[in-house]
């Protein structure tokens, strides 16, 4: 079918752009002057990785890849909250 060929091309192009963006995020995550910049870059990286995993799950026709995206998104939120509580209150309490 012609539409699926075009769709595979679209996914391939999107994967290339995503990979380039991940490299740029990684440069900021390594280089960041303060810890907050690193946390922000890793945050963006995790959310985009979650989106990319859903797209890869459609490309490879596998549902196991997509189910890890929920955990990844929640992990990034946990990182934010723990950093904030550590900086403002000095301890991480529940």
């Amino acid at each position: 079918m012609n539409v699926e060929v075009v769709f595979n091309e679209v996914l391939y192009f999107a994967a290339v752009i995503y990979t380039f963006a991940f490299v740029l995020y990684g440069i900021r995550a390594i280089k960041g002057p303060t810890t907050a910049d690193i946390i922000l870059a890793v945050d963006c990286l995790s959310f985009d990785m979650a989106a990319f995993m859903v797209i890869l799950g459609i490309y490879f026709k596998s549902i196991m890849l997509a189910s890890g995206a929920i955990i990844l998104a929640l992990w990034a939120f946990m990182l934010d909250i723990y950093y904030t509580k550590y900086v403002l209150y000095g301890e991480v309490e529940v």
């Binding site: 192009f13 963006a21 907050a36 963006c44 995206a69 909250i81 403002l88």
Partner: protein, 152 residues
């Protein structure tokens, strides 16, 4: 069917647009000057670069027949992840920015006016507020002996 083709096209365009948004956000995160500017790029990267392609992938998965019966699971996961990121990303970014501002991390950028700094209570006012709240006598008064815990 024509409706499936339309949904498929919308989803593909959303995925492609999300990838472009993501690249723009990555360049912005790398090139902007200070932390408060970088949060703008982070907003584009999360809402435009993650939520939009995830919703597009969910729309595609609904009508993508090579997935078989698994496509409804895939669409459910995609919409769940989209709503989660849409709720989580602004909250997380806001908490990081508040931690940086109130924790005084890094160097503050040059500002023309900082109204939050003017509205914050000064250290002397905070001591006075705590005294009023606790019912303690101020500095000039003589301290009277009360069993505060037993009275309460």
């Amino acid at each position: 069917m024509i409706i499936e083709d339309i949904i498929f096209t919308i989803g593909s365009v959303a995925i492609l647009l999300g990838a472009v948004y993501d690249l723009i956000a990555a360049i912005g995160l790398l090139r902007f000057g200070d932390f408060y500017m970088r949060t703008h790029a982070a907003t584009i990267g999360t809402v435009g670069g993650a939520v939009l392609p995830v919703f597009g992938a969910g729309l595609v998965a609904l009508v993508y027949h090579p997935l078989g019966a698994q496509r409804f699971f895939m669409a459910g996961i995609a919409f769940t992840v989209g709503v989660l990121i849409l709720l989580i990303a602004p909250t997380g970014t806001h908490s990081i920015v508040s931690a940086v501002y109130f924790g005084r991390i890094g160097k503050k950028p040059r500002l023309v006016v900082d109204q939050l700094e003017e509205d914050l209570p000064k250290r002397k006012d905070v001591v006075e507020l705590v005294r009023e709240h606790e019912g303690l006598p101020s500095e000039g008064e003589e301290r009277e002996f009360v069993f505060r815990r037993m009275v309460r």
